[in-house]
Assembly symmetry: C2
Homo-oligomer: 294 residues x 2
C-alpha cells in the first residue's frame, strides 16, 4: 500500500508554477481574493491562498467587504474586478452571508477570470472537453494527483461517491474524458443509491466526496483499489487539545490495508486545491495575454 502524499505533489506543482512565473516578463499574474466577513475558516483559507500566491510570485489583492454587504454592492465589486485589466483571476471565498445569492455571484465572475471554475460555462466546457475553460480546483487537483501518482484511468472503473457541483459531477466528467490519463468508465453514486457496497466493490478507483466521516469501510472496497478521499470532517476527540480531529469519508485504518494507493486526510486532496487555484490563475494570465495580443 502506498500513501499518496498530497503535500509533496502540491509542493512540486508549486515549484513548477514558481519557475513558470519567474520567466514572465512584465506584469505578473494577479489574483483577487474576495472574503466577505470574518468567518474563521474563511480567514484561514484566504490567508493560505495569499501566502501560496506570494510564494509563486503571483500578486494577490485581498478585498474584505463587510458581512452586511448587499447583493448589488457585491455585484458591483465583482464587475469592477471583471473590468480591471490588472486582475487575472477572481476568487470569492465561500460561504457567503445569508442575504447573498451565492450562485448568482459565482456566475457574475467573468468566465475568463473564474479561476475557481464555478461558472456554468466552465462546467459546460468540462463536458465538452474544451480545455480553454477552468476546472474547479478540487476535481482538477484529484486528476493531477492521480496523474502524478501514475494512476491511469484508461479502462478503469471509477466510482464517484457524491454528485456535488464542486466535486462529484466535475470529477466524473473529467474521468470520462477521452484523453490520456482519463477515459475511465464512470459510475456516480449518491444518497439515493441502492446496494451501494455492491457498486463500490467494483471500483478500481474510488473517489469519496460525500462529507460523511469514515463512511467507506473495508467491506465496501476490493483489494488493490485506489482510494481518493475528498472528505474533510471534524469528529469530536476528547484526547485532542482542540477537542476534535479531522477525518475523511473513508475509514482509513480499515480500508488502507486493502488499497494499492490511498490519500490520507489531512494531507491528501486538500493541499492540491490551493495549488490548482494557482495553476488556474497562471493559466488565466497566459490566456488573457494571448487574447490581448491576438
Amino acid at each position: 500500500m502506498e500513501i499518496i502524499d498530497g503535500n509533496q505533489v502540491a509542493t512540486a506543482l508549486i515549484e513548477e508554477l514558481k519557475a513558470e512565473v519567474s520567466t514572465i516578463s512584465g506584469r505578473k499574474p494577479c489574483l483577487a481574493l474576495v472574503r466577505v466577513g470574518e468567518d474563521p475558516a474563511s480567514v484561514s483559507y484566504v490567508r493560505k491562498k495569499e501566502k501560496t500566491a506570494a510564494e509563486i510570485g503571483i500578486s494577490s489583492r485581498v478585498i474584505l467587504p463587510p458581512v452586511s454587504i448587499s447583493q448589488s454592492e457585491l455585484v458591483a465589486l465583482i464587475d469592477g474586478l471583471n473590468a480591471d485589466h490588472s486582475v487575472d483571476g477572481i476568487l470569492v471565498q465561500s460561504p457567503l452571508p445569508k442575504q447573498i445569492d451565492e450562485l448568482a455571484i459565482f456566475r457574475r465572475v467573468r468566465p475568463e477570470k473564474d479561476v475557481d471554475g464555478f461558472h456554468t460555462l466552465n462546467l459546460g466546457k468540462i463536458a465538452q472537453e474544451d480545455e480553454s475553460g477552468f476546472v474547479s480546483c478540487t476535481p482538477a487537483g484529484i486528476l493531477e494527483l492521480l496523474r502524478r501518482s501514475q494512476v491511469d484511468l484508461n479502462g478503469k472503473h471509477v466510482v464517484v461517491l457524491g454528485r456535488s457541483l464542486i466535486v462529484g459531477k466535475p470529477v466524473a466528467l473529467l474521468a470520462l474524458q477521452k484523453k490520456a490519463g482519463a477515459n475511465g468508465t464512470v459510475t456516480i453514486c449518491h444518497s439515493g443509491t441502492r446496494n451501494l457496497a455492491e457498486i463500490t466493490r467494483q471500483a478500481d478507483v474510488l473517489i469519496a466526496a460525500i462529507g460523511r466521516p469514515e463512511f467507506v469501510t473495508a467491506d465496501m472496497v476490493k483489494p488493490g483499489v485506489v482510494v481518493i478521499d475528498v472528505g474533510v470532517n471534524r469528529v469530536s476527540d476528547p484526547t485532542r487539545k482542540t477537542g476534535y480531529r479531522l477525518t475523511g469519508d473513508v475509514h482509513f485504518p480499515g480500508v488502507s490495508p486493502l488499497a494499492s494507493k490511498i490519500t490520507p486526510v489531512p494531507g491528501g486532496v486538500g493541499p492540491m486545491t490551493v495549488a490548482m487555484l494557482m495553476k488556474n490563475t497562471v493559466k488565466a494570465h497566459r490566456l488573457g495575454n494571448l487574447a490581448r495580443s491576438g
Copy 2:
C-alpha cells in the same frame, strides 16, 4: 414486455403544446430553422420540423444559405436572428459544411434562443440542475418518454452506453438530477470500457447511444430491464426496395423478450426529438416574454 410507443407519446405532447400555444394572445412562438445546403437528410429533417411547428401553431422561418457560405457570413446570420425580437428559438441543422466550425456556430446562438440545447451554458445548466436552460432534444425526449411510460429512475441503476455531447453526457446528467423521476445511480460506458456486458447486465434502465447496429445483445441485459434505444443505423437489406433498413443499437429480437419495456427503432426516441424541440421553442417564447415584462 411493453413496447414504448414514441409516436404515441410525441403525439400527446404535440397536442398539449398545441393547446398551450392556442392560449397565447399576441405574437405566437417563432422558430428559425437554418439549413445550409441541400443534404437530403437535412432537407427531410427541417421539413418535418417545419410541419410539426405549423401543426402546433408555432410559426417557423426557414433560412437556406448556400453550401458555400463562409464562417463569418453564417455568424452574421446568427447574430441577426439573435437580435431579432420576433424570433424565439434558433435551430442550425447539423451537419454543417466542412469550412464551418460547427461548435463555434452552436455557441454563437444566444443561450436564451438555443432550443437545440447545444450551447456550453445550457449544458452546464443541466449539471447545475438549473431549469432556466434548454436541454438538448434527444436526452430531454428520453426523460420525457420514461416519465410518460411510468418509469421512475429513483434508486435505479441507469447504464448509459456512449458519452457523446448530444446524448450520452446530457442524459447521464439528467438521470442523476436530484428530482422526481430522476435520482438514478448512473454508469457511463463507452468504447474504452472493459467487461462491458458485466456492467450492462446490472442495468435496471439501459440507454444505448453508441451508433453501432444491434450492438446490445440478449446476453448483455438482465430480465426486466427497461431499454431505451437511441441508435438509428442503416444496415443493408436487399429484400427492401430502398436496399436498407433502419436498426437501433439494440438487437431487438433478442433483447425485447427479456425487457419489461423497450423502445423500437424507428418509432421510439426519434419522434420525441422533434416534439422536444417544439417544447423548447414554446419555453423560449414564455421565458422571453417574462424577461421583457420583468
